[in-house]
């Protein structure tokens, strides 16, 4: 089949799910209406470590409408599910079975569940439970714990760091701190479960329907084929819905217990202790460089917090191993065990905090060298992947710097800190590099051509707000020669062919090609049968020369008397690719810092990105703008405050956990710099979901330094930290 060019790839198509979302008719998990629906509410531990010694549930059991009260006695019969992070590689985010014993591992651990006729009755019942504990002092602060090497994780060592520092003309060493962050998607995690006999149907707000299915099958001892998981619309995830958390199992257990459909929605406060966190990190960076800026040494030590039972590593040094050419590199990753719930991957895991440290340190080096930070990065550009020696599948990072700087109006001569003042505010500019890889997950997809001239494509992937419905439809339109409005896209259903989780910037990059394979298969099967059939007007035509489209399909299907034909396609990313596959980018930021109060405002940002082929610039641009805003929030606002003595989240709600609102944002601009990547797939698209976050915080921190001369190495950059830096002279 000769490649045909269609207008659908690269079209800034409007979202196909837009109309249902603006009319309030898109059905999310919490909107699913089922007859006899009951509601489950979770009771959570008010201590961070210890044991439950007594729980009085009598008043709850007799409360109006209450159907069942479950305590931590293991009687729900939930079987063990392998931890996501263990060698078993199961889908669970938390290795322990919920409500199985009286041991408290973290504040906010689920300790009881009340099921009632209505949500309000379940809440009222839950409030009647009285719990007594035997307290132990929790370990809460990273500084109080002893760093350990994560099991199975070796240090990354290239060359010799000591030698590299010895030959350097200039060295920089600095420590950086990042706080825990919570994903806080607008939709709280919600599960609705319904058993009929030994068959279970679950509506779940998840980034991984197949993982939820496998976990439920394992937990309840039924074949995976007996479990159907649906997730048609997901109100954002950012990692919090990427694994299977205890409440999902509890919802299914509750439904089995009361023999009715049950909905369990986490409350916003519960979202802070029930579905993971980006853990706190402490990082040390040491850089050595020649006077001309060429790096001789990079050392990056990262320590991140994890729970007592799970070996979750926030890999802050991951991007350090690939971003710059440097002969002597040592990256060490350590974990400390704190009394907290298992952390998990939040959007741009490892790279978001890691890039803050690395790209801040690069800026510190540029300042020491009196060199333009863009020039410093150009002089250390990695022409091949330094970690493996492999060529890049595609890399236009130099153009990102150039095009971004041009659009931003970057002035390489203006690098002296604290020199620009406009009235009461100090103005500064900063920049940083960005990179992100894609998790290479294998995917299968389904395509069907129908006699009415429409097509259906389906895959057990998800639209978590990213635009998957729209973009996969465009990819199918391109192959089938049908306009996208004739293509029905089905997602979020385990009855569809299996796809990887919607994490790790992989959906368009790797599910997209599976859609292509399925569409090619169904199209070519139909055409091949036609050219071989003497009855067909296409008999003996060369397939590649046929102008196919709706009329061809409708005519052939009508002629053979079939309502539809279908095919399944597969895409397996090449695990042994000779290319290293990463997206790249550059951020430029301008800040205004109040000279008196230290308040930082980002006036404008420009991000230039190379994400390979852009299938839909409208949805991709929105992904990147949202990513940059995520980075802005990381830089200036977001921090989960944990009480150092009692181990609880101090303000677990959206009043206390600061997210940017519209008035916090200046002008953001996104530029696409790349071109189709010939080596990732024949679609040529790489990931765009996370890279917008990477480096954004560093660009802002570097701009704050340029504005004020104050180097803030602890996130978020709150006014007190800017002012404190001023007091000690920066």
């Amino acid at each position: 089949m000769s490649p045909q060019t269609t207008p659908w790839i690269g079209a800034a198509a409007a979202r196909v799910d837009g109309p249902v979302k603006v009319t309030g008719t898109a059905i999310y998990t919490g909107d699913v209406a089922l007859p006899e629906l009951a509601h489950a509410v979770l009771v959570q531990s008010t201590i961070a470590k210890g044991r439950i010694t007594d729980m009085d549930i009598a008043a709850a059991e007799t409360a109006p409408g209450v159907l069942a009260v479950c305590t931590s006695d293991g009687s729900l019969g939930i079987g063990r599910v392998a931890s996501y992070y263990s060698a078993d590689n199961g889908p669970m985010g938390d290795g322990r079975t919920p409500l199985s014993d009286a041991v408290i591992h973290h504040h906010g651990q689920h300790i009881a569940m009340v099921v009632a006729q209505t949500l309000e009755e379940a809440v009222a019942g839950a409030e009647r439970i009285r719990t007594r504990y035997r307290h132990q002092s929790p370990l809460v602060r990273i500084e109080d714990a002893i760093p350990q090497t994560p099991p199975g994780r070796e240090d990354i060592v290239r060359g010799d760091l000591t030698t590299g520092l010895a030959v350097a003309d200039v060295t920089v060493e600095a420590y950086y701190e990042t706080p825990p962050q919570h994903m806080n998607p607008m939709e709280p995690c919600t599960t609705t479960a319904h058993w009929v006999g030994d068959r279970l149907t679950v509506y779940d707000s998840t980034q991984y329907v197949s993982g939820v299915r496998d976990a439920l099958a394992s937990a309840f001892g039924v074949p995976p084929a007996n479990v159907r998981v649906l997730s048609g619309f997901v109100g954002g995830g950012f990692g919090s819905k990427g694994t299977v958390w205890p409440h999902v199992l509890l919802a299914a257990a509750a439904a089995r217990l009361v023999d009715r459909p049950v909905r369990l929605a986490l409350t916003r406060p519960q979202m802070f202790t029930s579905c993971g966190t980006r853990p706190a990190t402490r990082q040390r960076i040491v850089l050595g460089a020649h006077r001309d800026g060429r790096l001789t040494a990079i050392g990056h030590d990262g320590t991140s917090a994890t729970s007592p039972g799970e070996n979750v590593v926030e890999s802050t040094g991951g991007l350090t191993s690939i971003l710059y050419a440097c002969p002597n590199v040592t990256i060490r990753q350590r974990i400390v065990r704190l009394d907290m719930q298992a952390p998990t991957f939040q959007r741009a895991p490892g790279r978001a905090p890691g890039s803050f440290a690395l790209e801040s340190a690069l800026d510190e080096l540029a300042h020491e060298l009196r060199m333009d930070p863009v020039e410093l990065r150009l002089r250390n550009h990695a022409d091949a992947d330094p970690s493996s020696g492999r060529p890049w599948s595609g890399k236009h990072l130099r153009e990102c710097y150039r095009v971004g700087a041009e659009r931003f109006g970057w002035d390489p001569a203006d690098r002296t800190p604290g020199t620009r003042r406009e009235g009461d505010v100090l103005i500064g500019t900063g920049m940083a590099s960005a990179t992100h890889e894609m998790d290479p997950g294998p995917a299968a997809a389904y395509a069907e051509l129908r006699v009415d001239g429409t097509a259906v494509i389906g895959v057990a992937s998800h639209d978590i707000g990213t635009g998957t419905y729209t973009v996969l439809g465009q990819i199918a339109a391109d192959v089938l020669g049908l306009p996208p409005e004739r293509i029905i896209v089905r997602l979020g259903d385990t009855d569809l062919p299996e796809a990887p989780p919607s994490i790790g910037s992989q959906t368009v990059a790797y599910v997209g090609p599976a859609i292509r394979r399925a569409c090619e298969a169904v199209r070519d099967d139909l055409l091949a049968a036609a050219v071989a059939d003497p009855e067909s007007p296409l008999y003996r035509r060369e397939i590649g020369a046929i102008e196919f489209g709706p009329r061809t399909y409708v005519a052939e299907l009508a002629r053979i008397g079939e309502p539809s034909v279908s095919a399944v396609g597969h895409h397996h990313p090449d695990a042994n690719s000779r290319y290293a596959v990463h997206s790249f980018g550059a951020h430029f930021a301008e800040v205004a810092v109040d000279a008196l109060t230290g308040t930082v405002r980002v006036r404008r940002m420009v991000g230039a990105f190379d994400v390979g082929r852009v299938i839909n610039p409208r949805t991709a641009r929105s992904q990147l703008l949202g990513g940059m805003t995520f980075g802005l929030a990381q830089a200036l606002m977001e921090a989960t405050v944990i009480d150092p003595r009692r181990g609880h989240v101090v303000e677990p709600h959206l009043a206390g956990y600061h997210l940017p609102v519209n008035a916090d944002i200046g002008t953001l601009d996104v530029l696409f710099v790349g071109e189709p990547d010939p080596h990732i797939s024949d679609l040529g698209a790489r990931g765009a979901g996370e890279i917008g976050v990477v480096g954004a915080a560093a660009a802002i921190a570097n701009a704050v330094f340029h504005a004020t001369g104050v180097r803030v190495r602890t996130l978020p950059i709150t006014p007190d930290r800017v002012v404190a830096g001023s007091a000690v002279g920066g």
Partner: protein, 166 residues
């Protein structure tokens, strides 16, 4: 208690309402209008914004009993049949919708803004919408959508026959 009120112009009754129930709960669980979303339950995020007698309110903070004999307008009532309101159409056209969970509240808030201010400045838009959290879009496309809706409504006003009623 029984609560009698009007939703999107339709007389509505909810029976056996517990005094502690919110308007949001009544809309979602009793009236069958799940468009308004429950995302924070404390009036911080704006996802549950509805009109109450013409004023935008966080329906999670309004007790159900307070709406007795009053008029409520939700996202489900913005469109005229199959024709989207200009604000809804602009959110679709500008790409201001991502996951969609904050969208219903943003639409009502924007609808209200453009009823009050025909040509809002960017600063006015950002201020007016600062009670509505969005975690996906980064707000730029929402700004585009509000500007687009304002421009289209202005065009529609210019095109409409005027002066006949004095």
């Amino acid at each position: 208690m029984k609560v009698t009120f009007t939703v999107n112009g339709r007389p509505t009754e909810a029976d056996d309402v517990w005094e502690g129930e919110s308007l949001l709960y009544v809309l979602r669980e009793r009236v069958g209008l799940p468009g308004s979303k429950n995302a924070c339950e404390q009036g911080e995020c704006g996802s549950c914004t509805v009109y109450l007698d013409g004023d935008p309110v966080c329906s999670c903070l309004v007790a159900a009993g307070q709406v007795q004999d009053r008029e409520v307008g939700t996202v489900e009532g913005l469109a005229q049949g199959d024709t989207l309101d200009p604000v809804q159409q602009a959110f679709v056209d500008a790409g201001a919708v991502q996951c969609g969970f904050c969208t219903p509240g943003l639409l009502v808030q924007t609808h209200d803004l453009l009823n009050r201010a025909h040509h809002p400045s960017d600063a006015e838009i950002r201020e007016a919408l600062s009670g509505n959290l969005c975690r996906c879009t980064g707000y730029e496309k929402i700004m585009d959508a509000v500007r687009l809706a304002a421009a289209r409504k202005a065009d529609a006003r210019d095109a409409a026959p005027t002066g006949l009623e004095g």
